[in-house]
């Protein structure tokens, strides 16, 4: 049969070109697909199969085009030589595409495994993420709690009015709060630089030994009272509570102490006890004085009556009269101490009163070698309700005592200072004498208590002064000065004037 040859040739050539182009495009698309998901085994499979198709398409098409070309130029023999190679390459390319295609199942299985693993990985990742978020949340919450707790503890430590002290196992100071710095008078840097320990502050070795024993035995001390030595060598009464802390997370052993300043409380208690004692003594003295005063009056009356008449016992009677008068003076002083005496109360200008006393004493022989310094409150005059004579007596008595105390001091001086404090005024009488022995301070205002030799003092001066000041609604206090000597302070209520308030 006869058939048109051209369609066969045209379709063969165009089809071959189309196969080349399409197979290359397939390869290109498959590679793009693979790039979208590198882990997808099916896409890898499509890359392989596209590559196989490309080899198949190109090899076959080249063969076909070459054949048409050689036939067209009448080189049929040449084609016959090449045809076997072209056919073989073509066969190999079929085989290749077929083999690759049959790998589909394996590729599928690999892909399934990859997807399953990926899902598991994603699930695990999700769980890890969730756990991590929870952990972060918990860490944040714990950190906030810890910060809050630390802040509270820090505030307690820093703002506590009691001293809080942390020491190492050898009681060397590691931490001390502001109250502790105020109490001891040392700065924290000084304490750390000098490697100071708690033992350096305890005034008496016996107290420290007792605290140490308590700590070694019980690992704590509770409300132990002792004296602390400040940087200016002043002693302060404190109460110590503390214990051992073995710490957490392998921290070193430390001791924590709370030191409470009970100095003022103790002084107050002593003053109250002193006041109670003196009140009792006052009552007793008043009773005794009253009982003795009457017989003494009778004895003195009869003695004076007998002296009006001439008698061989005149000298004896005068001796009796003299001693009875002495006794009456003592009784009078006792009554003053117990405030049984009466005095006219009026407004007293303290500065005028003190000027009077100083002027009087300057002319006294004992005060000629003594330097008297008068430092009066300059802002205003200080007025009190009282008996000027009695108040003068008290100041006079204190000045005389001070004069006796500085008797052996080369540059002895007595300082008189007035000061206004709220609704009260203070009179300080200071000297640089021998001071008051510590053991005498609690008894210094007791009637008949004296440190002077027998016959040189009755021991009633200070107790009378105490009685007078108490009668004036005031207080009298005695203490040793930091440097040398003693200080007596009289505290009296000011008269209620407009200038009373500072």
């Amino acid at each position: 049969m006869i058939a048109p040859y051209l369609p066969m040739v045209v379709i063969d050539i165009i089809g071959s070109f189309a196969m080349v182009v399409l197979s290359l495009l397939c390869c290109y698309k498959a590679r793009i697909l693979r790039e979208t998901d590198q882990d997808n085994a099916l896409f890898l499979y499509l890359v392989w199969i596209s590559t196989g198709f490309m080899i198949f398409g190109v090899s076959r098409s080249v063969g076909h085009i070459l054949r048409q070309f050689l036939i067209l130029i009448s080189q049929t023999d040449t084609w016959q030589m090449i045809a076997a190679f072209s056919g073989s390459v073509n066969t190999v390319s079929f085989m290749l595409v077929s083999l690759i295609t049959l790998f589909f199942n394996q590729s599928w299985k690999i892909n399934e495994k990859i997807l399953t693993s990926r899902k598991k990985l994603e699930a695990a990742h999700g769980q890890l993420l969730s756990l991590n978020q929870n952990l972060e949340q918990k860490v944040m919450e714990r950190t906030e709690m810890l910060t809050s707790s630390e802040h509270k503890a820090r505030r307690i430590f820093e703002y506590s009015l009691d001293t809080i002290l942390v020491t190492d196992a050898h009681f060397k100071i590691q931490e001390i709060n502001n109250a502790g710095i105020t109490l001891t008078g040392y700065t924290k840097e000084q304490m750390l630089a000098q490697n100071m320990g708690l033992m350096n502050f305890i005034a008496h070795a016996s107290d420290w030994a007792h605290i140490l024993t308590q700590l070694n035995t019980n690992e704590y001390v509770l409300n132990e009272e002792c004296d602390i030595l400040k940087s200016d060598d002043m002693e302060i009464r404190v109460m110590i509570t503390g214990g051992v802390d073995y710490g957490a997370f392998g921290c070193a052993k430390t001791f924590h102490f709370i030191i409470k300043d009970i100095n003022e409380k103790k002084q107050m208690e002593q003053q109250i006890a002193q006041a109670d004692k003196l009140a009792a003594l006052g009552e007793l003295s008043a009773g005794v004085a009253h009982e003795i005063n009457n017989p003494l009056g009778i004895i003195l009356g009869y003695t004076q009556l007998m002296l009006k008449e001439e008698s061989e016992f005149e000298e004896d009677l005068k001796t009796i009269e003299k001693h009875v008068k002495n006794c009456k003076d003592v009784v009078s002083n006792l009554l003053s101490f117990s405030r049984k005496g009466s005095g006219k109360m009026e407004h007293v200008n303290i500065h005028n009163m003190l000027d009077g006393v100083v002027n009087f004493l300057k002319s006294h022989s004992d005060f000629r070698k003594v330097q008297i310094q008068l430092r009066l409150w300059k802002k205003e005059s200080l007025w009190v309700e009282g008996n000027e004579q009695e108040l003068s007596q008290v100041v006079l008595n204190l000045m005389i005592n001070a004069c006796h105390a500085i008797k052996d001091t080369p540059d002895g001086f007595i300082e008189l200072v007035t000061q206004k404090k709220n609704a009260h005024m203070l009179i300080h009488i200071r000297d640089n004498g021998t001071g008051i022995a510590k053991q005498h301070i609690p008894r210094i205002f007791d009637p008949f208590f004296t440190t002077k030799p027998v016959g040189q003092g009755t021991g009633l001066g200070l107790s009378v002064g105490y009685g007078i000041i108490r009668h004036h609604q005031g207080k009298i206090m005695a203490a040793n000065r930091k440097s040398r000597g003693a200080q007596f302070t009289i505290r009296l209520p000011l008269v209620n004037t407009n200038s009373n308030e500072e």
Partner: protein
């Protein structure tokens, strides 16, 4: 460069025995071995395409348009392979058909029993590009669809 030349020389040495000609090896191979091997290749190709079609259906990939197009492409390749096998059988195996190019732009198709029907069948079979080109085009479209799907999945616009 020297390494490359060395490789080329070895390759050439291997290919020299493969040159067509009368070579008397230990075993004598008949001339029909080539076409049978080629036919087996086509059959293998056809079989693999059938497997691919069923695999795509069996694995549930046919829900994706791209894989469906690849499935159709495989079907066209099956048809093409069938067509090629038949054509090779007629002209290279049983020599039932031969084509002679005429000078007037026509060709004379000789069939064994002068069957016109067989001649036209053979003529149709010779236009096999009408099957393999669409098969390759469908493969390209299938891959393009898969790329577009993948990019859409990842929130990207296909170019």
């Amino acid at each position: 460069m020297r390494h490359f030349n060395y490789k080329v020389l070895i390759m050439t040495a291997y290919l020299i025995p493969a040159l067509p000609g009368n070579l008397y090896a230990l075993q004598l191979h008949s001339g029909s071995e080539g076409i049978i091997t080629h036919q087996i290749g086509h059959l293998f190709f056809l079989f693999s395409m059938v497997v691919l079609m069923f695999m795509i259906s069996g694995k549930g990939l046919a829900i994706h348009k791209g894989w469906r197009l690849i499935q159709v492409s495989a079907f066209f390749f099956i048809l093409w392979n069938g067509c090629a096998i038949a054509a090779h059988f007629l002209d290279n195996q049983i020599y039932a058909v031969s084509v002679e190019r005429l000078t007037n732009g026509y060709a004379k198709i000789r069939t064994q029993n002068n069957s016109g029907f067989l001649g036209w069948i053979y003529y149709g079979l010779k236009l096999d590009h009408l099957l393999c080109v669409p098969a390759m085009f469908l493969m390209y479209k299938g891959l393009s669809c898969l790329v577009a799907e993948q990019k859409a999945e990842k929130g990207q616009e296909s170019p």
